[in-house]
């Protein structure tokens, strides 16, 4: 066993961290205040990342990426997690499900996404179907040789900047012994396509400036060429490609927690009450001890899940454990850090209240904590027939 990083990995970590500190941190306060990323800032970040060869770095070299392993990419995302998500969105991490593109879909979607010419967004969730993805009400029905889509998606992140959308819709129902089961198909839909509208979404307490939108499909006609993967094969592409991306929330939570922890540590060492540094009170110092222990645990859990992906080992449960533990850890770390800052922790003069708000969504999106527990427990109990 070797827990060390290679020289290359050390340099990847220090380069991305430097980048986040120098190119992302300085814009955070403004994004927080206005809830917007200025277009020129977004373009500048994107251009610099492309120049550095980090744009779409998890994609294979054959399609223009850098061919990073899951572990290397987890390190990149961990460092990105330190910064504002609204801004790091432009660091450029297209959905790897685009690797399922076939034929001229590659020229139209995959390659421009990897080059940074077109940005994507991924749409599964609907008002009536969140955790229960298969319960989706968006449909596509055959009409001549085409498909006609109807329905609504919501909470779609990055849709405000997306040039095209990866959309999952129901294309039929199968009768099974357990009752009716929907067949799902994945479509590629361009912004501005007739019958397709992107509307402003809700305002979230977490990650200001990283917007989510509502997508509406009304008699939206698409040819077969827009199907990603096979017709009725939506779950297959989902399972093949989205499985590994669940680790993103875990890695980013760890990076963010380390940034937050540094604030807790230095405040505990500097702030004096009752004639001494508050870090000298066990009530504070033991919180510091618990925080770093949990952060390290989440870090190793996450990196080992990424390593399993690289080894081709089963990692479904490990990824779920990492997502569950890291997001819950971040909630505890941000809460304790705020507590250590006393009243000032709540004030928006400091970034602490923002870290605390941001952390809240990590336990919800990309599969809630309950759904992760469901995945973990089914993985263990199903083989026993329970």
């Amino acid at each position: 066993m070797n827990f060390g990083l290679s020289d290359e990995q050390e340099m990847i970590v220090s380069t991305v961290r430097d980048f986040v500190e120098r190119e992302i941190y300085p814009h955070e306060a403004e994004v927080e205040r206005t809830g917007e990323v200025p277009m020129e800032v977004a373009q500048e970040i994107k251009r610099k990342v492309i120049d550095l060869g980090f744009y779409a770095c998890s994609f294979p070299e054959e399609v223009g990426g850098a061919g990073l392993s899951h572990l290397d990419f987890a390190l990149v995302e961990r460092e990105l997690g330190r910064g504002s998500m609204a801004l790091t969105h432009f660091f450029g991490r297209p959905q790897n499900i685009l690797m399922a593109c076939e034929g001229d879909q590659k020229e139209r979607y995959l390659l421009p996404a990897v080059r940074g010419d077109r940005m994507d967004a991924l749409a599964m969730t609907e008002p009536e179907a969140g955790s229960d993805v298969r319960g989706m009400a968006c449909t596509a029905v055959r009409d001549g040789g085409d498909w006609v889509l109807n329905g609504t998606k919501h909470f779609i992140s990055g849709a405000d900047h997306a040039d095209f959308f990866i959309v999952f819709v129901a294309t039929g129902v199968d009768d099974t012994p357990k009752g009716p089961k929907k067949r799902i198909t994945c479509f590629l839909v361009d912004r501005g396509h007739p019958g397709f509208t992107v509307r402003d979404g809700y305002r979230s307490v977490s990650h200001r400036g990283y917007k989510n939108c509502i997508l509406e499909f009304y008699a939206c006609r698409l040819p077969d060429a827009q199907v990603l993967g096979a017709v009725d094969g939506g779950f297959e592409v989902m399972n093949t490609w989205l499985y590994a991306t669940r680790i993103t929330v875990a890695t980013m939570s760890v990076g963010r927690a380390r940034r937050v922890f540094d604030h807790a540590l230095s405040y505990a060492a500097e702030r004096k009450q009752f004639g001494q540094q508050i870090g000298k009170f066990q009530g504070v110092s033991f919180q510091i001890a618990d925080m770093i222990t949990e952060i390290d645990a989440a870090d190793w859990l996450t990196l080992s899940a990424a390593w399993r992906l690289d080894q081709g080992l089963p990692a479904n449960r490990e990824i779920a454990s990492a997502k569950l533990y890291a997001s819950e850890m971040l909630a505890r770390v941000t809460d304790a850090t705020l507590q250590i800052h006393g009243g000032m922790g709540l004030m928006d003069d400091y970034p602490i209240e923002r870290f605390w708000r941001d952390a809240r969504v990590e336990r919800i999106w990309d599969g809630t904590s309950e759904i992760q527990r469901h995945i973990i427990s089914r993985d263990l109990l199903r083989p026993l027939g329970a």
Binding site: D7, E8, M11, S14, T15, D18, L52, F54, C57, A66
Partner: protein
């Protein structure tokens, strides 16, 4: 033209420095180490010279503990072509003094015959700021220290230097030794393809003994102490109060 760039592994400039309990120096166990920021500027300047077609090979050299290899890999990832590591100490707390460093560099320069040495004006750990000047004396080469602008033109270099009270422009004969000041340039990030290529670039490992240089310290550190803590400031409510306080303090 070959350019030689010495790079030093120092405590990262973001780390809050702590003095060791026995006052013998600064605690370096388990702290983040990085390339000396002025050396990063030197590497950047060398890369720019290469990009401008004025240099064809950049050799990074580091003298110190074996871990200085990481610093060299960073230089290679930024764009240096090859590296020489001279292991001259086992303990991370051992600082190789400028004269010993200059002697080792002089020996390497005899072998490599670079047309230019670009070094940092000082290392942020001991702040001695002497290596470049000593090297110039040992080699009998010209020197231009504290560069804020460098222009290489055939057999001479025109260098703008930061001096007390302003800027001074000097013209020096090549080969020469130039030390970098803070405003010379802004070092680049290592790009991902260069990070991946760095491992494949040659890194020669040598020892101080290979160059016949005695690195035994000649300076004795008597004591290292923390800077005195500054007294907390006060907040004033108005300009009048500010003026009053300044008068009290005898500042106006």
């Amino acid at each position: 033209m070959k350019v030689l760039v010495p790079v030093k592994r120092v405590i990262d400039y973001n780390v809050k420095v702590r003095v060791k309990a026995d006052g013998s120096g600064v605690d370096l166990a388990n702290v983040k180490m990085s390339m000396n920021p002025f050396d990063e500027i030197a590497v950047e300047e060398a890369i720019r010279l290469k990009e401008a077609g004025k240099a064809d090979e950049i050799i990074a050299v580091s003298i110190g503990v074996k871990q200085s290899q990481e610093t060299l890999r960073t230089a290679l990832a930024m764009g240096a072509d090859r590296a020489i590591l001279v292991v001259a100490a086992d303990d991370v707390h051992t600082d190789i003094e400028p004269l010993a460093v200059a002697k080792i560099l002089a020996a390497i320069i005899k072998e490599e015959e670079p047309g230019l040495v670009l070094c940092g004006k000082q290392a942020i750990d001991n702040d001695l700021g002497a290596t470049g000047q000593m090297l110039s004396a040992l080699l009998g080469w010209s020197q231009a220290m504290y560069a804020n602008k460098v222009d290489i033109d055939g057999d001479h270099a025109v260098v703008t230097r930061e001096v007390d009270g302003g800027l001074q422009t000097v013209k020096v004969k090549m080969p020469t030794i130039i030390s970098t000041d803070l405003r010379l340039n802004e070092p680049r990030y290592a790009s991902l393809p260069n990070i991946m290529k760095a491992k494949k670039k040659p890194l020669d490992e040598k020892t101080a003994a290979d160059y016949g240089v005695d690195v035994t310290p000649r300076l004795e550190i008597v004591k290292t102490s923390e800077p005195e803590e500054r007294a907390a400031g006060i907040k004033v409510g108005s300009v009048d109060e500010l003026v009053e306080k300044l008068k009290e303090a005898g500042a106006v």
